[in-house]
């Protein structure tokens, strides 16, 4: 296996002799509006250091993909961004959001997560009606009239491209939805909180190709109002929908650049190996 892949390994024309080992796109504050950035982020499970050197800046109203092999730390990185690793792993370093270090102990994690929403790999609707799935997290924190809630349910379901299929069954249990529908309901539920940033952890890996394609259309639509960071195993998906792509390997961000550059002219050899399927 290794022999063969080494034989097949293409010698890329555009990788110079002295290729850099790491490349991270500079994003100057005056040219890019930064929604979220990380500084010296390190995640460790017990003694084991699983992620280090994750300095990234995420531009507003863009889709950024995190790609990399299984175990490269991309999900761990993503889950640290809204503190979902609290109690699971030890996360040090800073995560800057609106001038606040949200990795600090003083941060109200529950409030912060209403600004930085997350959707997981497998759809996880609550055992409640479709309507209540969306309204429940809202009504736990604020007062809304019935009309306001109706409006939010309709808007978010339309944003998630689910409204036409469920508008007559809003009182049906969400557990009766198909996988693709459930995942879109979960998106709608996250959108109802009006977050700034949406973190998606392989959100379409459990969906069939048709649902997955619809899902990607939904994301491109959402980009107008939301900053999206998505972990994906599917490189075609990353290439299709994202503006920026970060390639991670063994807990490090190896290359972070515009998606079209990553997929056409990667600067680091490791990235080239990965996207051309010749991982050694």
């Amino acid at each position: 296996m290794t022999d063969k892949s080494q034989e097949l390994k293409p010698v890329s024309d555009f990788i110079p002799e002295k290729a850099p080992e790491r490349y991270i796109i500079p994003m100057e504050d005056d040219k890019h509006e930064i929604a979220l950035s990380t500084e010296d982020l390190q995640v460790s499970y017990g003694d084991k250091l699983s992620l280090s050197e994750g300095d990234l800046r995420f531009e507003r109203y863009k889709i950024t993909s995190l790609i990399g092999a299984s175990g490269s730390g991309k999900s761990t990185f993503l889950r640290s961004l809204n503190r979902m690793n609290d109690g699971v792993a030890n996360v040090t370093g800073h995560i800057w959001y609106r001038g606040l270090d949200i990795n600090s102990q003083d941060i109200d994690v529950y409030e912060m997560r209403r600004h930085i929403g997350m959707v997981f790999q497998r759809p996880n609707p609550f055992a409640k009606s479709i309507y209540d799935n969306i309204t429940f997290p809202l009504t736990r924190r604020g007062k809304y009239t019935k009309a306001e809630l109706d409006e939010i349910v309709e808007t978010t379901l339309k944003q998630a491209a689910l409204w036409d299929q469920v508008k007559d069954d809003l009182n049906k249990s969400a557990l009766s939805l198909s996988g693709g529908q459930a995942q879109r309901l979960v998106i709608a539920r996250a959108l109802a909180l009006k977050p700034d940033i949406l973190l998606l952890d392989e959100p379409s890996s459990a969906l069939d190709p048709i649902s997955s394609a619809k899902f990607e259309d939904t994301l491109l639509e959402l980009k107008k109002d939301y900053t999206i960071i998505i972990v994906t195993h599917n490189m075609q998906q990353a290439a299709r929908i994202s503006d920026y792509t970060a390639f991670m390997h063994q807990g490090k961000v190896i290359e972070y650049d515009l998606t079209r550059k990553i997929f056409t002219r990667p600067k680091v050899e490791l990235t080239n190996d990965y996207i051309s399927g010749n991982f050694g």
Binding site: M84, Y110, E111, R113, G117, M118, N124, P125, S176, R189
Partner: protein
């Protein structure tokens, strides 16, 4: 021997063993029901027991059984629920939690007569509660708590962690997630567990002999003030339950129709426990369907 033959023999043996278990149960049920059911009548179910004459019923004992069951459940359910939520949702694997778990396991294997004697010494004698419904209910709580806790904990642990993550990612605290997401989703299986444990409590005798007492003073069913001793609702009156009654008349009963009363009472006990067990499953399925209705 060929693999196929070996497989056939093994299958036959396993079927035979399973059949034997089912047969023993069926034979016991049939024996009790065939002997007892012909004696059942409205009079038998409602009349007072008689010590020396023919024609006594089990009315008060039946009422006592249900009343004690309800009280015991009212006390044990909230405690079991809290303990189960702690163990499944909050407890980290420390020495303390493993001690709690061991305690629950030991408690669940305590012989119920020991629970009864403990209840007798502490509540009946020391706390001067006397042979009373309240002493019995507390003893039943000790008897019921470990199994109920375990059953609720299992129900909670069947809810996938995805649900907890979903709650957390939506900015809900862990407590909000447990109360509003995890608990509602596990209601069907919790209800099944509660009803099945109710069946066990209903049939329990040994823990009650020395706590709720072996006498069933006549009750005034027109008086519902729980503070009057003659009131059916009084928690301080002695209350012989159906299961205790069966034990009592079989060991020292002297009424002429003793065997008929005993058979009838046993049949009633078995029928109620069977109803609990069958309805537990039905109720759970029904609730789950309601929860996931489409």
């Amino acid at each position: 021997m060929k693999a196929k033959t070996a497989d056939q023999i093994a299958t036959a043996v396993i079927y035979a063993i399973a059949g034997l278990v089912a047969l023993v149960l069926a034979a016991m049920l049939a024996f009790i029901l065939v002997r007892g059911v012909p004696h059942l009548s409205w009079h038998f179910l409602t009349a007072q027991a008689r010590s020396f004459e023919v024609g006594g019923g089990i009315g008060i004992q039946l009422f006592n059984s249900f009343y004690l069951l309800i009280l015991a459940m009212l006390i044990s359910f909230p405690i079991a629920l809290g303990a189960a939520i702690y163990l499944n949702e909050y407890a980290k694997p420390t020495i303390w939690t493993s001690m709690v778990r061991t305690a629950i396991e030991v408690m669940s294997s305590l012989p119920s007569v020991v629970v009864g004697l403990f209840g007798f010494l502490i509540f009946v004698v020391k706390l001067k509660l006397g042979f009373s419904i309240i002493s019995g209910a507390i003893a039943l709580t000790f008897f019921n708590l470990p199994i109920l806790t375990r059953s609720i904990e299992t129900s909670l642990s069947q809810i996938p962690d995805l649900q907890r993550e979903a709650g957390a990612a939506l900015g809900l605290s862990r407590f909000e997630t447990v109360i509003h997401i995890i608990l509602p989703a596990s209601v069907p299986s919790i209800v099944t567990g509660v009803v099945i444990s109710a069946g066990r409590v209903f049939g329990e005798a040994a823990a009650l002999i020395f706590t709720a007492g072996q006498s069933a003073p006549s009750l005034d069913f027109g008086d519902w003030n729980p503070f009057n001793l003659a009131s059916p609702l009084s928690p301080f009156r002695p209350a012989e339950t159906l299961a205790v009654h069966i034990w009592k008349i079989n060991s020292e009963g002297i009424m002429p129709d003793l065997s008929l009363v005993s058979a009838g009472a046993s049949a009633v006990l078995i029928i109620v426990v069977l109803i609990f067990n069958f309805s537990a499953r039905r109720l759970g399925t029904l609730l789950y369907k309601k929860l996931t209705k489409s």
